[in-house]
Symmetry: C2
Subunit: 586 residues, 2 copies
């Protein structure tokens, strides 16, 4: 490099006029206007116009060979642009650099994807040429946002007395949640490491070690069937504290969020965040991760239908079931018979037996149950529950079940009928059930994970009789309908832990195989502790206004877990397999 930069492209402005500077960067475009070459030079910090006069013949001749995405070094004088050439939309739009010397640092073939304009291209192509895709302004911005978030997060935890401690990536296969990625051990043939699904066990051990407050931005690995926006490896802000209760953890998390939203995107988060119990959220939104910006709350019509002539509804109510629905305002005309059928099919696909619908067309009722329940439908109109041009979808059944189905219908209605809202809907869900019933395995399973502390009074009361009534000391953070964080107070009492294992049907052998070392550790003075993990990729995506986390990960994988650029995963040599003492079994 003969010409090493003295400045960055984006940092120059009218103050630099008459200075001689050297810039290094990429040619975003170059063209000939009336015999003079005008180009745009780009670096991470911005863009600036450069001008090459034919009078400077040597340079001009070199410039003839330059195309887009060439890397060049230019030396020249900063000058003010003519009044009519000023570009107010550009940071350096008042100035340009008159090139006196030029060096081609690297040539570029015609790039297979555009860097300087948006185009619809396949994800595969974008990822194959990710290094070019990353040159785009949007991607540079997203990764800069991510970089800043990383720094702010660590600073926040450090200032709050947390210690960053790195936990191993080569660890033991555990049965928690998803499928493990395995790593064959060469030195112990037939054995495998597992990549961690989370540092959960290690962070609890760090509490046992007395580190008091731990954090880490940890890579996690889950070998799941990749859905469109799920990555085999992802990052989480992981933290754990001793000698605290749930409120301490929520407050601490809120502080981080406030700081991130303010410093990254200048958004004021109002604290404390709203808290919904799991039951509230399910009854109102049919979801434990509701986006409450869109209203559309679930309404309980049970009372209105109590004495209905519709026998199947009446009977259901007598059996303790509910009549609940969602009312969409001002859009009844948008729901043709065909579209209603489609919603019915959708409801069935998520578990409904059928779907009742009611339209108010100028106070005339149209409904699938008009013939059998006209008085009650009239009441819905009279009480202004279903106003003119409203449409309601109603379900009859077990409260929990219909909540969930209405939750799905609600999300579909929001997606199809509501205008996209700006801003952020940030809230906590608390008081989750401790257990759910796994129909397939015919046993209780831990809703969160088996180290979650139950609400102690409920545990004492219901553990042996109605364990499904027990709620856990755990919490989810929800932003714009995404589960963004999850955490709990952990069990530090051996007796309690054993009882939970017993309830979810783990025998001693299984317990020892799977969590033996944690149980062992808890014999030696484990402090009361709890923590949480925040989905870092999703958080950045939401703040960047991106739908997909791939837009905020430098080198993501496709939905099938592959990387079109490196072609990972790939075949390996026989020698490698032999050394690992494994063979393929296709």
């Amino acid at each position: 490099m003969r010409l090493k930069r003295t400045h960055k492209c984006g940092e120059l402005n009218i103050q630099n006029v008459d200075e001689t500077v050297i810039l290094n960067g990429w040619v975003e475009r170059i063209r000939d206007l009336g015999g003079i070459k005008f180009g745009l030079l780009r670096d991470r910090y911005g863009k600036i116009q450069f001008v090459i006069d034919p009078e400077n013949k040597d340079i001009y001749d070199i410039a003839k060979n330059i195309g887009n995405e060439y890397v060049i070094a230019i030396k020249g004088i900063i000058r003010k642009r003519p009044e009519d050439a000023i570009n107010k939309n550009m940071k350096t739009g008042e100035i340009e650099i008159l090139v006196e010397d030029l060096e081609i640092l690297a040539e570029s073939e015609t790039p297979p994807i555009y860097v300087n304009k948006d185009e619809e291209i396949s994800e595969n192509l974008r990822l194959k040429y990710r290094y070019l895709d990353l040159r785009k302004e949007k991607m540079q911005k997203n990764l800069l946002l991510r970089h800043k978030a990383l720094q702010i997060t660590r600073q926040y935890f450090s200032e709050n007395d947390f210690m960053e401690i790195e936990t191993p990536y080569l660890t033991k296969s555990t049965p928690e949640g998803a499928r493990d990625f395995l790593v064959p051990s060469r030195l112990k043939p037939g054995s495998f490491y597992a990549l961690p699904q989370s540092p959960q066990l290690f962070k609890q051990l760090l509490m046992v070690s007395g580190f008091d407050r731990y954090f880490q931005i940890a890579r996690c690995f889950r070998d799941e069937d990749f859905r469109a926006d799920r990555q085999p490896e992802f990052s989480q802000i992981d933290f754990e504290l001793s000698f605290v209760d749930m409120d301490d953890i929520l407050t601490l998390t809120e502080g981080l969020l406030k700081k991130l939203f303010k410093e990254l995107i200048d958004y004021d988060l109002k604290l404390p965040l709203r808290r919904f119990t799991y039951d509230e959220a399910m009854n109102k939104y049919g979801s434990d991760k509701p986006d409450t910006r869109y209203g559309l709350e679930i309404q309980d019509f049970t009372e209105i239908f109590e004495n209905t002539g519709a026998a199947f509804i009446k009977k259901a109510i007598e059996n303790g079931q509910k009549v609940k629905g969602i009312v969409l305002e001002g859009k009844a005309t948008k729901f043709s018979r065909k579209r209603i059928d489609e919603y019915t099919e959708f409801a069935k696909s998520v578990g409904a037996g059928g779907l009742i619908w009611v339209k108010n067309e100028n106070n005339n009722i149209k409904s699938s149950i008009k013939k059998i329940a006209e008085p009650e439908l009239n009441k819905l109109i009279e009480n202004e529950i279903i106003k003119n041009n409203n449409i309601a979808f109603i379900l009859v059944g077990d409260n929990n079940e219909i909540n969930k189905i209405l939750g799905h219908i609600r999300v579909k209605l929001i997606k199809e009928e509501m205008e996209k809202k700006d801003g952020f809907d940030v809230l906590w869900i608390v008081d989750f059930p401790m257990f759910t019933w796994d129909e397939e395995e015919n046993r209780l399973v831990a809703e969160h994970h088996p180290f979650t502390m139950p609400k102690l009074d409920e545990f004492e009361k219901f553990a042996d009789s109605e364990p499904l009534k027990i709620r856990a000391q755990c919490y989810d953070l929800v932003i714009n309908g995404y589960e963004m964080a999850s955490g709990s107070i952990r069990i530090h009492r051996k007796d309690l832990q054993n009882k939970i294992f017993e309830l979810i049907g783990l025998n001693e052998k299984e317990i020892n195989e799977k969590f033996g070392f944690l149980i062992e550790a808890f014999k030696y003075g484990p402090p009361p502790h709890g923590g949480a993990a925040i989905g870092f990729d999703r958080l950045i995506a939401v703040m960047a206004g991106e739908e997909s986390i791939k837009e905020v990960i430098a080198f993501p994988k496709t939905a099938s877990g592959s990387d079109p650029m490196t072609e990972a995963p790939s075949s390996v040599s026989e020698k490698q397999l032999k050394e690992l003492k494994i063979k393929l079994n296709l």
Copy 2:
């Protein structure tokens, strides 16, 4: 938790006398003195004495059951200790807390290893109960140092316009350096991801993307035959810059080191660091990672022996070989015949044909070559090269070869005969050879890695004739004899890269298989760039005064790559193997 802490143990002092506080922590010890219970409560922040009076009968009775490492909460008044009970060696030694209320938060069985005193125990036991081992003051201190180093490092790079970008851990098997850890892919059976040995290729791609300055504290994975102090996974401070030369990178690295040494251990590093060329280091110390604090430089005696009567030496010199040696001062009497024989065996084990020794005993020569080279030996004494009670070890042979052997002898002498020095010996080694000759494979191999930029003038001159003469634009940082960092300016020119591949004997197919995507990326405007990686674990170990990196890693593996605590690696289920379509081949 009924009693939640209001203070930390270590933060209390004489200012807090008469305050009522609540503390949570571990009982470091508890004993009965004259009917009163005295204990020491410990948390991450320190320790404080607590006193339980028998007059407070309820509390006293509970305290009877408390043993070491119980987790308790105490509430009480801070009071000044009696004059004769003040402990000046303890931060809180002037005060104690008189317990009014007490809650046992968790019991502890007798810990299998001591937390509150040092003992010689096996590494296996330490790692099996790592969560207890980590409670020790030293380990808490080491991990706090590491935590601070992480924060300072990231802050330094951030302030210098670097972007932290996380690169994938599930990537493609590459042929660089060591053996890869492999991860079988379930979605693409028969294919494997590899865990990265370093983010080398990705960071170069990030430069192609125009990120200008990248850093990351990255986990790296190498499946090597573990030596005593090598870990299968380790951390490196990884960074890369565009549009820079070697000096920029060294200066930047030095700035980081200065900051770390100052802020972590209050040590002033003098900048700029000394730089040795590879040749200098080899000629002076016989090593490219010398610890220069111990002197013991290699001396060239060739001239003195030029006309020796010792035929084999004379002939060697005529053939261009050298006579070189190391002189250990004032210790000749410590080298018995038997010990000299041991050194001779050692020299042979590292490649010597034999070892010449010379002792000066009150200006009388004793030497293995006294009979054939007495005049030259006398000259060594007359010239005060070998003074009274000095012993010299001398080799005859090819300069490079004897340098290396003398380097090994030098290290052995330092270890066995020199007093351990304090402080830090920090220096750069530059101008490494670009290639070395691999005897086994009978071809050139890249000394650093094949993306290292050669010195361009030398490359043009010698590439086709004497490529071993070409030196590379790369550099190692050495601290106290450890290679602590390594880096280079990278090749960004396609023609050059292809030529290097050709010289190390990679054909196009191999190149494409192994580095295809990098070569492809370099078609589209790669900027001039370079970088380095610093061994983070070793750096922390050196600063903490630890010999082993295991002392600064929370959960390290044993030399055989296993974790006695979790028992990783372990066997996995048939179902898991089936899903991955692999089977064992033991």
